[in-house]
Symmetry: C2
Subunit: 349 residues, 2 copies
């Protein structure tokens, strides 16, 4: 490891005081152009680079923000949410010259310790929390510390003062339900993950509102809230398809379940969209590779991250800022896994 060149080294070589070098680096107006040129020359020559630790120590501001994630989270591993949202965060941070720090903890306690270390250890200026769980210690801690943070998702606790970014999932589900209803469907199934996730329960709500508004009743058998794995997924799908009045359309909450559903339908030789319509949440470029051109709902993951980062920045700059709640709009990407009732015959030709 080469020894680093410090401000003092530069100062010595340039025959100025360290403070002058510092001011040159920050382009202070109190330094003459002549000295600036001289010092800058030496800076280049010696290959100076700032020691961020020393800087952080005195300015009390690291140029970094932390990301809290539940690392073994199944749901974030197999859909592109995790990388996408980090890319979004990264994009903004990069524009502002900030860097990113990740929690590494596996257990909840370990994660909490990571957060404490980041916050109290003054390693980051702000935090972005990538999940929202019922009785989690992280968010309450951040609030108590008065530390700038934003949440991606919806706060599950009834704590106030939380700035959060998310989609309007109720709205999104309502829109997509209305869309499907508008196509003429009356028997619409809801296939999703565990309702303990805010996302799912919100979407369920939107779905039900739309159905109610359209005067369609929703038999409980149409609603399948299941863990995200093959066996439970298969069972749910079989149940639905085995119904005397089987649904003609599926609202699927996850790409994985969507893939599973398409597979089952293909095996049963049921054509999508001719016999069954499928709409799937969380658009990603992955679906391009499926043989069925799925109609999806784009939740704009990248933008979620980007806006979240922007928000922590505002919070850092102005800690007394009122909490806000930014909703990223969703968009139905219409491809060809849905059909309008009555069009079956035309299509079959």
């Amino acid at each position: 490891m080469k020894m680093s060149v410090t401000i003092k080294d530069v100062a010595k070589k340039a025959n100025v005081a360290p403070s002058t070098v510092s001011r040159v680096i920050h382009n202070s107006p109190t330094i003459s152009e002549k000295t600036k040129r001289k010092v800058r020359k030496v800076l280049k020559e010696m290959g100076y680079h700032m020691n961020e630790n020393a800087r952080n120590l005195v300015t009390k501001s690291t140029k970094a923000i932390g990301i809290v994630m539940k690392s073994s989270a199944r749901e974030s591993l197999y859909n592109p949410f995790f990388p996408e949202v980090i890319r979004g965060i990264g994009d903004f941070c990069n524009k502002e010259g900030y860097s990113l720090s990740l929690t590494t903890g596996e257990t909840e306690d370990a994660i909490f310790e990571d957060v404490v270390k980041m916050v109290q250890g003054r390693r980051v200026d702000g935090m972005i929390v990538l999940y929202s769980k019922k009785d989690d210690k992280v968010v309450p801690y951040l609030i108590k510390q008065g530390f700038p943070f934003v949440l991606i998702g919806k706060p599950s606790t009834n704590l106030s003062g939380i700035t959060f970014i998310d989609n309007d999932n109720v709205q999104a589900a309502m829109e997509v339900s209305e869309f499907v209803i508008g196509l003429g469907h009356k028997r619409i199934a809801f296939l999703g993950g565990s309702p303990e996730f805010e996302v799912i329960s919100d979407r369920l709500m939107g779905y039900q509102q739309a159905m109610d508004a359209a005067g369609l009743d929703v038999p409980q058998e149409y609603i399948k809230l299941i863990p995200l794995n093959r066996t439970d997924g298969l069972k749910a799908i079989d149940d639905l398809l085995g119904l005397k009045e089987a649904p003609t359309a599926f609202l699927v909450m996850d790409l994985l379940l969507g893939v599973l559903l398409l597979g089952v339908l293909a095996e049963k030789n049921m054509k999508v969209p001719q016999q069954i319509s499928v709409v799937c949440f969380n658009h990603s470029e992955f679906i391009e590779f499926l043989s069925t051109p799925l109609t999806t709902v784009d939740i704009h993951t990248h933008q979620l991250g980007y806006e979240a980062a922007k928000c922590v920045f505002d919070l850092i700059a102005n800690p007394e800022m009122m909490e806000k709640n930014i909703r990223i709009p969703t968009k139905i990407i219409k491809r060809e896994s849905h059909f309008a009732v009555g069009e079956e015959l035309k299509r079959k030709m």
Copy 2:
């Protein structure tokens, strides 16, 4: 933001010198048990937590390691490699109480700047580089700086002194080829991404070696090296299936291409594995959700990350260590997308 309690605050309250507090924190044997108890009590009471910046400044060691990734890398977004490898790295780091820092840059220059900032800015003790590109500046820079780092993948430059972790892709491809050959196949296609990636060219090599060894010749039409997108993928697959002597088995280098292939085969009503065998690289739990139980090659992504982290640690502890090259073994996960030639009829009953 609450004001932090420092070592001095604790020292004052406990009627000892700051140095004593520091030694208590580090559990120095030169401090009596009595004082330790007293100081520890005050530490808890005041809720002390160390300021890492100050610590890093004097010890010249942050307890963090950096991760370099090419962020917009398509290939890392849609297969679970990226999250998985980070989880692996995180697992080890967490065990050792280290934290993680990510580059945020989009362009190559931005990424390079991130790296410089991490290294020279003394924000990390070591680095893990998640890619290896032909004429990249990062690796040469790290070498020049004598900074501890390891590469995941295979160094594309002819620079020596690089510790790197990867799979033996030649070997892996050879094994899987032999496996398929052993089933009786003679017409085996190779479907993969761009050969500018070391992974692909290595596997291609292994494939060809196995074919040669078995005395099977490989017509150039059997080898499709294409960019990872739908159109190019479809074209390649169509080409292969349209051949007068179409392959009976496919070696697929990527989950995405695998999914695409399965879709096309289903549309053409070609049964897997009865008519066509498919083996796909990069096992992930995702494939559980496909209707076809794909036989895959597990490259142990998680362990790649874990071992990489372990390596930087060794390097940090002992910078003069000889470079090493750790190969993570691969494993064929045999499921049911392959068939032994001659068994078709049995299966059909």
